[in-house]
Symmetry: none
């Protein structure tokens, strides 16, 4: 039995409201044996109160030991199996620059590279050009036309850009043209099926023209493409969960991920304060609110333990404003762990607190990794968090008589 099919059968109309606050990369590690994690080190009186009143646990984003990217991390929190719904790199890169990908699009991540006279790659990242140069080169590439498809070339930064091929019947089973090595030529694109061969033909034509256009622009005189991907067909949260959902996120990638599951993406301003005001403004119009806070992840990626602690404290400070709206279910968690110690996403389970009037109490008194280990939700796959929220919001009927 597919979980979504079950939810469709059981879901019920209700006026209850669910808030999901995602502190990106929330979970952490102590720096020293016997030490505390970032979350445990932070002074978080408001999160601690939620933990005392609600139920805590640890979520496993994908599977034990598997470190998720932002895509699978968020899909799990939105109630989608991240192993079933996969978002290709091209699509995620396009979402990340706020490109409005559509159903007829195949997106790919592009790299500028340096080609020798022989056509072989001498530098896979073209000496890491400035973003200004990346923008200028992308403008040049926008001149390249291919019959039968529209092509969009958008800069990301340094050597990175996005290409979108738009047309009818384009498949995405196309190999990377990046050979992942120097001293060899970029690979030709090949399609694994007729629709993907149509894409590959367009890609090869475009690559041939692009190489001509960039001929005099060494070190950015070549390009490689990888992660060809179509916009995935994903049933919306409204369709599956019956939730009219709003996303309140500042960064394009998270806005794009929310749009992918059918959320309305709000104009959220640029600060956490703006985001909370947006939540207040939208309160009466939606059932489900996803608010994304980026800085717990970016400080973790930087390896800056005290800065991560500080961002957690600033996040804690807005909890009373959210509670003042009187949500029926309030969840605070992350999409994955980003321990400052590792300076990267990790596989460690993620602290979760779920607050509702229907919570069964547990012994957790402070919101942190060690205490969440004793929480009432136990350790559970992240994709079950939204069904749990639905239950606590009285939005799921009994299964079977």
């Amino acid at each position: 039995m597919d979980m979504h099919q079950l939810i469709r059968e059981l879901r019920e109309e209700s006026k209850t409201k669910i808030v999901l606050l995602v502190a990106d990369g929330l979970g952490g590690l102590p720096l020293e044996p016997g030490g505390k994690t970032e979350l445990e080190s932070a002074h978080t009186p408001n999160l601690d109160a939620l933990a005392r009143e609600g139920t805590c646990g640890l979520s496993i984003p994908v599977l034990p030991g598997i470190t998720p990217g932002s895509g699978p991390g968020h899909l799990g929190l939105f109630g989608y199996d991240p192993l079933k719904y996969r978002i290709g790199r091209g699509i995620l890169e396009a979402l990340g620059i706020n490109f409005a990908v559509g159903a007829r699009d195949v997106a790919a991540r592009g790299n500028f590279c340096t080609l020798e006279g022989s056509g072989a790659i001498s530098d896979r990242r073209a000496g890491r050009p400035t973003t200004e140069r990346c923008v200028a080169m992308c403008q040049k590439l926008q001149q390249v036309k291919v019959p039968g498809v529209e092509v969009f070339v958008e800069p990301v930064r340094e050597h990175r850009f996005v290409v979108v091929f738009r047309g009818d019947g384009l498949g995405d089973a196309v190999n990377d043209t990046d050979p992942q090595a120097v001293g060899v030529k970029p690979l030709a694109a090949k399609g694994a099926d007729p629709a993907s061969q149509k894409t590959a033909d367009a890609v090869n034509r475009w690559l041939a023209e692009a190489t001509k256009v960039l001929k005099g622009d060494a070190p950015t005189n070549g390009v490689t493409l990888r992660g060809f991907a179509r916009y995935p067909k994903i049933e919306t949260m409204q369709e599956v969960y019956g939730l009219k959902s709003a996303a309140i996120a500042v960064y394009p990638m998270y806005r794009g991920l929310a749009r992918l599951v059918g959320m309305d993406v709000a104009d959220a301003g640029s600060t956490l304060g703006d985001q909370v005001k947006t939540l207040e403004r939208l309160w009466k119009d939606y059932d489900f609110f996803f608010l994304h806070y980026k800085y717990t992840d970016s400080t973790g990626e930087d390896g800056n333990f005290p800065a991560k602690v500080d961002t957690i404290q600033r996040f804690d400070a807005v909890i009373p404003q959210v509670r003042a709206l009187n949500p029926d279910v309030l969840i605070v968690t992350g999409d994955h762990s980003t321990p400052s110690k590792l300076k990267s996403h990790s596989w460690h389970p993620v602290p979760v607190v779920l607050w509702a009037k229907t919570c069964r109490p547990d012994p957790v008194t402070e919101f942190g990794e060690s205490q969440c280990l004793r929480g009432g939700l136990g350790q559970f796959p992240a994709m079950y968090l939204l069904p749990l929220a639905m239950a606590h919001a009285q939005r799921l009927a009994k299964y079977g008589a």
Copy 2:
């Protein structure tokens, strides 16, 4: 999404080393209400130190309530779903006597039985003959020839032996000839498909001849066969996990199980001290080391609680030598529980400690069943232990962008 497919996508090269120490049947039960288990009763300062520094948990070998044999128990620890990869009894018996089973072989477990004049079985175990007699009877049976196949008959002990039929295109969907009852004749072999019928024909011919050869040897004047099985096609640990793996096991069955997943099987000597020396000798040549210690299981099977405690203490004593090698990930666990109180394998979850520098701490201070219940790994299917080890050894890339 298949876990092995996911691991193949994500695995990365690394020089890190993973050690898996398996104390067979490690988990136990207290003898009296309020008492301690064997592991909790043992004085294990080195395991306790690992538990304090690492992360603990309890592994579920197959499913809750399911007691595993040695085959499924080890396959889980090697990162294979024991419900997907099944090893037939004939193969396991052959591995257990160190018979080198190959791709053209069908193996079966044989029992000597006593036949009456009518041909009906009067004793399914032939009065439990001595192993010497078993050896002599097997030598007699080795004379029996069947056209088109080679047949090998190897003693196990008492009434037990192994038969291997070697030939081209032999299937293993053949019923047991053991009727599991007295007063009836052994059953004829039948194949469920043409390849298996080819095997069944050879089996029936062999059984007819064997009965003639043993005619005057009552009470060991008959045989029954069961558990016909081919050598399973299993992708190797190198293929799936990218780990060059060595097995350091004394007993043939565990050496055979390791060979089944492509491990190199070392000449390991006969004592735990020999095994640790073997580990030291092989250290620079492999990524993954499986060291198997039998006596925690055999003392449990004997129902000898104090002897099991003693074997655990002897196992604890070698931990410092293993740690001195400076592994990146060190795991100590069992393939299942063997409580002395039950004198058999059991379904109870198995204590696990995983030590690595990237561990998230948990409150466990002593390695034992009760404390592992509060461990950071929670209760988890055993097949996720190797992915967890890979993660802690920095051998898995991020899933999704």
